[in-house]
C-alpha cells in the first residue's frame, strides 16, 4: 500500500514539476486571459465495449468535463462493467456493477482557444458497489481431500484513487477523440462475506496497483 501511494505521489510531483515550465513559457507570449467557462465535453467510452471482443470484461461509460479558464477540467464519469471468466481449474467468476468517478484534469499543454487539443494529467477518485458470483471453487491440499463449493451472493464496495495522463484531439467540428493512461490503487474495500472480489467494475482486476488505457469519443456541447 505504502509503495502504491509513493508511486502515485511521485507521479503527481512529476506532473506538478513540469507544469510550471509550460506556464513560464506561456507568460513570455503574453498568455491570453480566458473567461471562466470554456465549454463542456461529453465523452463516451469506446474501449470498454470493444473489450467484449477480446477480453473477459466489457462495459459502457459516459463522462463529462467542464473547461474552466483552460486551466482546470473537473470531471465526472459513470459506467457499468460486466465480468465473466472461467479459470483453467474450471472456476467461473461473474461480476456486474456500476461505478462512479470524480476528479480533475490539469492541462499540461493545449492548442486552440478552447483547448480543443489538449495534453493533460489528472487525479481521480472512483467507487463501485457491485455483486459477484464464484462457481466451482476447489480447495486442494487438505488432509481430508479436495472439495468444491460455490459462493453465489457476494456484495462488495470499493474505492480507489487514480492518476491519469492522456490526450484529446479535435477530429471534426464538435467531435474529438482521446485516450488516457490510468494508474490506480485501491484505497478501501469491503469484500464479500466469503471472498475477495476477483474484479471491481471501473477498476479492473483486484490487484494493487492496477493500470490501463481507455479511449473516448467526445462531443463538445454547443454552448
Amino acid at each position: 500500500m505504502s509503495s502504491s501511494i509513493y508511486k502515485i505521489l511521485a507521479f503527481s510531483f512529476l506532473v506538478m514539476a513540469v507544469s510550471p515550465a509550460a506556464a513560464k513559457d506561456d507568460k513570455k507570449k503574453e498568455k491570453p486571459d480566458y473567461t471562466l467557462y470554456q465549454g463542456i465535453q461529453i465523452g463516451i467510452g469506446i474501449s470498454e465495449p470493444a473489450k467484449a471482443l477480446f477480453s473477459d470484461s466489457w462495459g459502457a461509460s459516459v463522462k463529462a468535463d467542464i473547461n474552466l479558464k483552460n486551466k482546470y477540467l473537473p470531471t465526472i464519469e459513470t459506467g457499468i462493467a460486466i465480468y465473466d471468466k472461467t479459470s483453467d481449474l474450471g472456476t467461473r467468476f461473474t461480476s456486474t456493477g456500476q461505478y462512479f468517478k470524480v476528479g480533475v484534469n490539469l492541462p499540461i499543454s493545449f492548442h486552440g482557444d478552447k483547448a480543443e487539443d489538449i495534453l493533460f494529467a489528472g487525479l481521480h477518485y472512483g467507487m463501485s458497489a457491485f455483486s459477484y458470483k464464484l462457481e466451482g471453487l476447489t480447495y486442494a491440499g487438505n488432509y481430508w481431500g479436495d472439495s468444491q463449493t460455490s459462493v453465489l451472493d457476494e456484495n462488495a464496495f470499493a474505492g480507489w484513487v487514480g492518476v491519469d495522463a492522456g490526450v484529446r484531439v479535435k477530429v471534426a467540428g464538435p467531435i474529438s477523440l482521446g485516450w488516457s493512461f490510468q494508474y490506480k490503487s485501491i484505497l478501501h474495500i469491503k469484500t464479500g462475506d466469503n471472498s475477495n472480489p476477483p474484479y471491481i467494475p471501473g477498476y479492473g482486476s483486484y490487484v494493487k496497483p492496477n493500470a490501463g488505457i481507455v479511449a473516448h469519443l467526445y462531443y463538445r456541447l454547443p454552448f
Binding site: L14, V15, V18, L137, A140, V167, N194, P198, Y206
Partner: protein, 175 residues
C-alpha cells in the same frame, strides 16, 4: 477510427511538443516503470489453515513434549505425524463436515500403545483469496473433546482458525 485517433494524436502532439516535450519524456519513463511494477503473478499469501494444539500439564503450568507420537484422522490410513517427539500439532479440519476426529497414539516404554481420540466440532466457511492463490476453508471452533486416555481436558483459546499467523495456539491439550 483507431488510425484517425493515432494520426490526430501525433499531429496534435507535434504542435504541443515544444511546451510538453519534457513531460512526455518523463511520462514515458514513468509508464515503463509502472508497467514493470505491475507484474503481480504468483501467490504470496499464506494458504495454510490448521488448528494448532499445544500440550500442557494438567494445571497448564508448563509445556510438555511427548515422545513417539503418531497422529491420523479417524477413517483415514494416512499419517499426519509418525513416531515424532512433539510439543504441538497442527491439523486440518474436514471442510465437508462439522466434526473432525483424529487418533493420537503414543508408544510408551515397553512398547505399550496409549491412544486418545481428539474430536473437533466446528463451522466451516469457504474463503476465496485470489486467482493466483485459489481458495481455502476457514473454521470456527465450537468444541474440542478428548477421550481422557492421554489428554484429561482440552481448552479452546482461539476459536477462529484462518490463514493468519497467531502468536499462541488455538487449543491447549492438558495431559
Amino acid at each position: 477510427m483507431p488510425v484517425t485517433l493515432l494520426n490526430e494524436t501525433i499531429i496534435s502532439l507535434r504542435k504541443m511538443y515544444k511546451r510538453s516535450g519534457c513531460f512526455l519524456s518523463l511520462a514515458l519513463l514513468l509508464l515503463a516503470s509502472i508497467l514493470a511494477s505491475c507484474n503481480n503473478s504468483g501467490c504470496y499469501d499464506k494458504m495454510d489453515v490448521k488448528v494448532k494444539c499445544s500440550f500442557y500439564s494438567l494445571d497448564s503450568a508448563y509445556a510438555v513434549t511427548i515422545d513417539s507420537v503418531s497422529v491420523w484422522g479417524v477413517g483415514s490410513d494416512s499419517l499426519v505425524y509418525k513416531n515424532k517427539n512433539l510439543s504441538e500439532i497442527s491439523l486440518d479440519l474436514d471442510p465437508n463436515s462439522s466434526e473432525t476426529r483424529y487418533v493420537f497414539q503414543v508408544i510408551g516404554s515397553g512398547g505399550y500403545k496409549f491412544m486418545d481420540t481428539i474430536t473437533f466440532k466446528h463451522v466451516n466457511k469457504p474463503w476465496y483469496q485470489s486467482a493466483e492463490c485459489g481458495c481455502m476453508v476457514f473454521n470456527t471452533l465450537d468444541t474440542c473433546l478428548t477421550t481422557g486416555s492421554i489428554f484429561q481436558s482440552a481448552t479452546i483459546l482461539e476459536k477462529e482458525i484462518t490463514n493468519t499467523e497467531i502468536e499462541t495456539e488455538h487449543v491447549i491439550l492438558n495431559i
